[in-house]
Every structure is written in C-alpha cells, then in structure tokens.
C-alpha cells in the first residue's frame, strides 16, 4: 500500500516558469472550462525544473522561460522532441506607488533618480541563472546604467521574487517580467513601463512534451498553441512567435 494520499486522479503535472504564473493559471482554467481534463500546475525556476527532469521528475509538459533548458533536455533524450516556441518574454520597469522613481521606456527617470541618489535598492532576478535577470542586465547595459546601478542591485532567486523585492517598500524599483507587472496583484501595488524588446536578447520561451506524456498533456500542449491561449499570453504581455510587438 502506498503511503501517499490519494492523488488527484493522476492529472498530468505541468511545470512552468514563474513568469507564467498568472497567464497559465488562466489558460488552464479555460482549458478545463472547455471540457479539458484536470491539470496540476507547478511554478518555479526553469533551471530547477530542468534539473528535476534530469532526475526523473514526472512533469509531462515543461514550459521553460529559457529555451536553452529545453534544448539541453531534448539533447539528452528526455523530451519527446525539441519542442516549440510558445511565447517571447518582455521585461518591464516597475516601481511601487510610493517610490520616487519616474517611469519611462527610455529609462530617463531612472537615470535622473540615480543622478540624484534616490535609488537605494533596485531589484532584478539573479542574472547568474534566471533568464529575466539576464535580460534585465542586458537592457541596463544597453542603457548605460548597469555600472551605476550595480551597487544598488538586489537579486531575486527567480523573477517572482525579484518582483516581490521591486515592489516592496524597501526598494525603489526593479526590472521584472512584463507578464508579472501586468498581473492584477502586482499592478495594484506598483506602476510599470514596458522596456524595448531590442535592448535585450529575445527571451525565447520554449515548451516541450515529456517522453511519457499522456493524452491530457498532449491535448493541453496543443491547446497552448491555439487561439484562446495565444490571446491570454498576449493579454499578459507576451509577444508571440510570428507576431511583432
């Protein structure tokens, strides 16, 4: 007899990057409403998931924030194929309502705040391993602010935590996933402005089916490429492959 409690009807587990938190929950709800079977969603850092899949984690679909992880797993023969691009991430500058930071797509406000020493703490995801952190670094370098900003940086373990830090009273702002900035829970406490896509390498978000994926997982995988899903991704600020922003 298994020690485990009854499992939720063996619904497939979908592992997804943290930046998809709000978008994917909405898509899954819609999938279910349209007659799809039950799914179990789990969000976290893409790197962690990749590592867990290498160790045999029973994720049937992997939606990575960084396509490198999908390629890496596919090359090891752990996925059914090299998957498909489902969205391209964008980054946004956010600041809590109480922050003195003025927001603009050209980062003039940030430059000004830096010049006046009004930036004590600025949050991004850890560029060492988080794709959104890397993108934020590239954007800041492009704007020529990286070196000025560097001493103030606080690094989130993933982009969600970076958003947490950026909107807390202890930081004056941050660069996080546009999808998170748009989420109601975040937009209630913080302002945001989208940053130009050209300032950083494209955040190609790739998904793939696991080798052992079942029917439900395959159906959802297909659903993610369909119109309702694409609409939701767009609403949460993602650029879709084949469309321009």
């Amino acid at each position: 007899a298994s020690a485990a409690p009854a499992r939720a009807a063996d619904a497939p587990v979908v592992a997804a990057a943290s930046d998809l938190k709000f978008a994917l929950e909405e898509i899954a709800a819609r999938f279910r409403a349209e007659g799809g079977r039950d799914l179990r969603l789990t969000f976290g850092s893409s790197g962690n998931f990749a590592r867990q899949i290498e160790q045999g984690a029973p994720f049937e679909i992997f939606l990575s924030a960084d396509e490198e992880y999908v390629f890496r797993l596919a090359d090891k023969g752990l996925m059914s194929d090299r998957g498909q691009l489902y969205a391209i991430g964008r980054i946004a500058l956010v600041a809590s309502h109480g922050s003195p930071l003025a927001l603009d797509a050209g980062l003039a406000g940030l430059r000004d705040a830096l010049a006046h020493d009004r930036i004590k703490r600025f949050a991004i995801a850890n560029p060492e391993h988080a794709p959104y952190g890397r993108a934020a670094e590239q954007a800041l370098r492009h704007a020529g602010l990286w070196d000025r900003l560097r001493p103030t940086l606080v690094l989130g373990e993933n982009v969600s935590q970076a958003a947490q830090f950026a909107t807390s009273s202890s930081a004056q702002g941050g660069i996080v996933a546009y999808s998170l900035a748009l989420a109601p829970a975040v937009s209630q406490v913080a302002r945001h402005v989208l940053l130009p896509a050209e300032w950083h390498l494209p955040l190609n978000q790739r998904m793939a089916l696991a080798k052992n994926a079942g029917a439900t997982a395959k159906a959802f995988y297909a659903y993610l490429g369909g119109k309702p899903a694409r609409d939701i991704f767009i609403r949460y600020g993602f650029t879709l492959p084949g469309e321009s922003s």
Binding site: T42, Q55, V186
Partner: protein
C-alpha cells in the same frame, strides 16, 4: 487555505513521526545504554542536517535518490516507481532531515534513566522488552513527547528539502510550507497570511504543550 497541501503536510508529518520515532528510540537507546566507540562520530553525523543548508541537502538527496544512482535504480526496480518526486522520496528526506530533532531529546531522556532502575527491573524478573515497555518508555515519556512534537511541527514547516526532492507537485509533494511560499510569490498575501497564522498557532500550541509538560516533569524531579 490550500487544503490538499495541508492534508499532505499532515500526512507527511505523521508518517515521518511513525518512522522516525521508533528509529530514534533505537538509536537513542543504543547511544545512551550501550555507547559504541564511535559515539561522538555518530552523534556528529546525526546532527549534520542541522547545519547544512536545506536546499543543498535536498539537492544532494535528489541526486542520491535519482534514477542515475544504484540506490535510485534499485528502488525503481523494486517498486516500479522512482523515489524522487514522490511522497515516498519526500518521506525519506524528511526522516533524514528530522533525525537530530528526534534523536536529541530522546537521547537526553534515555540518558537520564538511572541505570539501576533497569537493573532493578531485570532482577525483578522483567524481560528486556517488558523493561523497555514498562520502565524505560514511561520514564522517557516527556522526551518522547518532545521528539514527537518537534518532529511533527518541524516537518510541517520544512521547505528547502521538500522543494528540491519533491518538485512541488500538487497533491503529491506540494506541502503547506511550499504552498505558503507559492502564495507569497503570487503576491497573494491574504492567503499566505492565513496559512502562516494557522501554522504559527499550531506550532505555538504544540511547543507550548511540550514545554508545559517538560516543565511539570522537571518540577517533579527538582
């Protein structure tokens, strides 16, 4: 409130206690009554989980129990399931991680049993097993209770190891601690707050209980 996560955490905590307490009793009794040469070494080994970052411990446990190791393969061959990312794997990790919390109070409790009480039981005709049940256990009871409640509460609160070894699969390895963290990450402070309060109250009550009981025993001795 994430009820499946809470139910999972309670399951995990109960099973951890069910496995760890008897194990802890055996280890603690051995260290207390028949201390082996390597006593200090064993105690240091048992205490290691106290000082290793839980995520790191979890990472190595994941690798160790994974399908790439002989241990993981043997398990998979025997049970038909892999060990990582299952409740069973979580349970093993939880048992290891809680080892010091269970063994230390138990060892103190068994250490405090005067040797001549056991001798008195033997010359009174009690077998080793009867002596254990009727003399050692009742006298070590406060320590046992302390081990039980600490293990239980600490398992409820465990985060790092579970995150790595479990993979946070809802209904299977997503515990209440992970659920709270998830809610925090999702900016859902209200839900996180309610769940935290619940855990906090629960912990406070159980620990208060243990200390009240421990205190009463200490007063009776003093």
């Amino acid at each position: 409130m994430d009820w499946p996560a809470l139910s999972l955490s309670l399951h995990l905590a109960l099973w951890t206690c069910a496995i760890l307490i008897p194990m802890g009793v055996v280890i603690a009794r051995t260290l207390a009554f028949r201390p082996p040469r390597a006593k200090g070494l064993i105690e240091a080994l048992i205490a290691l989980p106290l000082v290793l970052p839980p995520t790191v411990l979890g990472y190595y446990l994941m690798v160790l129990m994974g399908n790439a190791t002989p241990f993981g393969q043997a398990w998979a061959a025997l049970t038909g399931r892999s060990l990582v990312f299952t409740f069973e794997g979580l349970l093993i990790a939880s048992v290891l991680f809680n080892l010091p919390f269970a063994v230390q109070p138990l060892q103190r409790a068994f250490d405090a049993i005067p040797p001549n009480l056991r001798e008195a039981a033997w010359v009174g005709g009690m077998s080793a097993w009867t002596t254990f049940c009727r003399v050692e256990l009742p006298i070590a009871w406060p320590g046992l209770l302390s081990a039980l409640v600490l293990t239980f509460a600490h398992t409820l609160g465990e985060f790092g190891v579970v995150l790595m070894v479990g993979g946070s699969i809802p209904g299977e390895t997503k515990t209440i601690a992970i659920a709270i963290y998830d809610r925090v990450q999702a900016f859902d402070d209200a839900a996180a707050g309610i769940m935290s309060m619940f855990l906090l109250l629960f912990s406070f009550l159980t620990i208060g209980l243990v200390y009240a009981l421990g205190g009463r025993v200490a007063r009776r001795r003093g």
